[in-house]
């Protein structure tokens, strides 16, 4: 009976997770180009040729993958750290009871609730050079830049800034939500006792809030890292079919290789490499944290 009960879960796990992964790995070792996509089984075995192409940093394809990987690392580091800081600040500020707290809690969650597509399209409009709200605010309202020097945001080097800003906007409410939930489980007495001992708010935050939120943070940072590193929607919607070089995030890079040039073997090889990298990072992260928490 117990096996019968878990059987549906096992079947769907195999169907939804394991099978596509196995197919992806198989695709990465065959030459699945446009000449074979109508009949996959005819694609010739390529061994590690696709991997060789992806890792050969002296070749055009390897070099562009490495470049995309570097951009994605910088992108992820910025988005995760800033989102976490904003989320933490928001959660701590809204922990005190004051009139209008419910309103702000709701307001801060709006980016998370808006459909992804609608939210990013709105940003795309705001980032337009001549008609966008961002340049209007910077140049015409705040006079930080001259009216004639309005910068481009979606092409050239600023594209990186644009995609980071939009992703933070989408990501920080999640950090806010998780940390706010975590804060509810910290007993109020701890703060009261520390106040009696003369602890000021920053000391309270450092010595009570952060350690007590440890388990939440551990999961939160990992999940945000994985989501951000794999983010496809933001660059795809923000930049359309042609990403600027500074906004060439890795998921989008793989998508271009697979779909725009119909080289699924090469695309899969890059996906498998991405998977291995994320597994490695996650494994090391959990290993280090578990050891530390066991010691503590």
């Amino acid at each position: 009976m117990p096996f019968a009960l878990i059987a549906p879960a096992v079947v769907f796990e195999l169907l939804i997770h394991v099978t596509p992964m196995a197919v992806g790995v198989w695709m990465s070792v065959v030459k699945l180009t446009k000449f074979y996509i109508a009949n996959w089984s005819a694609a010739p075995f390529a061994g590690f040729d696709n991997y060789h192409l992806a890792l050969d940093v002296n070749g055009a394809l390897g070099a562009s993958l490495l470049n995309s990987f570097a951009i994605t690392c910088a992108f992820t580091a910025l988005v995760v750290s800033i989102s976490w800081i904003l989320g933490m600040a928001g959660a701590v500020v809204l922990q005190r009871t004051f009139w209008g707290r419910g309103f702000f809690r709701t307001l801060f969650l709006v980016p998370y609730a808006i459909p992804v597509y609608a939210g990013i399209i709105a940003w795309k409009f705001m980032f337009q050079k001549d008609t966008g709200a961002v340049n209007h605010l910077l140049a015409d309202n705040l006079h930080l830049i001259g009216a004639g020097d309005k910068p481009f945001w979606l092409i050239g080097d600023n594209a990186f800034v644009a995609v980071v800003v939009v992703t933070i906007w989408r990501m920080w409410p999640f950090a806010f939500l998780m940390l706010m939930a975590g804060l509810q489980s910290i007993p109020e007495e701890l703060y009261e006792a520390s106040a009696v001992d003369g602890a000021r708010p920053f000391r309270q935050w450092r010595s009570i809030t952060v350690p007590m939120l440890g388990p939440v943070n551990r999961v939160l940072v990992l999940v945000m890292f994985l989501w951000t590193f794999n983010d496809f929607n933001t660059p795809y919607i923000l930049f359309g079919g042609a990403q600027p070089p500074t906004g060439d995030l890795i998921s989008f890079h793989i998508y271009s290789a697979s779909f725009l040039t119909l080289n699924f073997g090469f695309g899969s090889a890059m996906s498998v490499l991405l998977l291995l990298f994320l597994l490695l990072v996650t494994g090391v992260y959990l290993f280090v944290l578990n050891r530390r928490s066991r010691r503590a």
Binding site: K31, A38, S64, K129, G156, T261, L262, F264
Partner: protein, 436 residues
Amino acid sequence: MKMRTIAAMAAIAAVVMSTAACSSGGGSSPSGAGKTLTYWASNQGTSLENDKEVLAPELAKFTKETGIKVKLEVIGWNDLQTRIQTAVTSGQAPDVVNIGNTWATSLQATGAFLPFGDAQMKAIGGANKFVKTALDTGGAPGKTVTSVPLYGLAYGLYYNKKMFSDAGLTPPTTWEDMVADAKKLTNPASGVYGMTLAAGSYTENCHFAFINSAQNGADLFDSKGKPTFTSAGVVDGIDRYLSLMQSDKVVNVANAQYDNGTQSVSDFANGKAAMVINQNNAGNSIAAAGMSPDAYGVVPFPAPASGEKIATFIAGINLSIFKNSKNQDAALQFVKFMTSEATQATLDKPFSSLPVLQGVTPTFTDNADLAKTFQDIYSTKSKPLPLVPAEDQFESTVGKAMNSMFATIATGGTVSKADIKAALKTAQDQVTATMG
């Protein structure tokens, strides 16, 4: 309780699966009448809705004649290529589909489309009914075509008549004239520029990489289908096109963000630019933006005085049948109907397309001069884009490289010929590395 929930979920899953199976396996009875074809049309009119309105009466006529029903889906240009590729990859495909004719050879290489051999050609009315240059875009030379022409398109240089006459200018016949005129008509202070380009659209950019190279007598691929992007003629051609924004400064740098042709056409129609290079279906968009058809004229996109007089590639839309269609006979009847003289005459006007049939007079415009100009460009000043399987990779690699070059120029940088050559070398390596 739990057991019941699981049972209910299993039942729901079973229902979902069986209905999914139904929707993909419909219609397999043999001959014509009573069948339903699925047809994916590209966006040719002013909107997807407009396309449906234009096509509906024709499809009704077809159903009345043959008893075959047609399920129509109109797909926008941003999605069409991906949808077709997904259909090819998954096998979940429509019966008949419109393709951009530049994709014909790449799609032919996938083997997912029905070749129009002698029997199939006969079934749709014979190869001779088509204009030869148009039919040549249907696949690689020497191979049986897997698509037949449906609508013909060509690039032309649209100019604002009033701006030209006010400045005492006549429409240009050479590249040098065009640049000189554009400089006279450019006045950044009032926001008016000589020309406008869809400089952020990789599909538009790669077309001009091709046309400008062709004017220099340069080819993008050698006879074996290997890319030759770094040849001097190609580098010079792209450099000339970039110079409109970079050194001649007759194009607003904001154009580097225009990721589709409609935005530049709109600038032209609103008097913000005196010239725009667009395909002959611009007429509808110009009218929609409020510019009267008398206010503009069209001349062939000029080549340098010493260059070859090539003004366009043979643009257009082709029709293909998926090989795994269970309704091939019905699909052939449908292709015959769509490429018949009567249907073509009706559709060419709302979709502003040039005839792809022999000996037919253009109906896409009431303006006889315009019709004559485009007909002349299409038949005497055109060259097909390379008919090689890697053509799609040329579009994405070179087109995107040009997007970046325009972005560099727009953000204050400079793009030298050495930079162009380096970028083209990367594009060429990318194409070579993934060639079958």
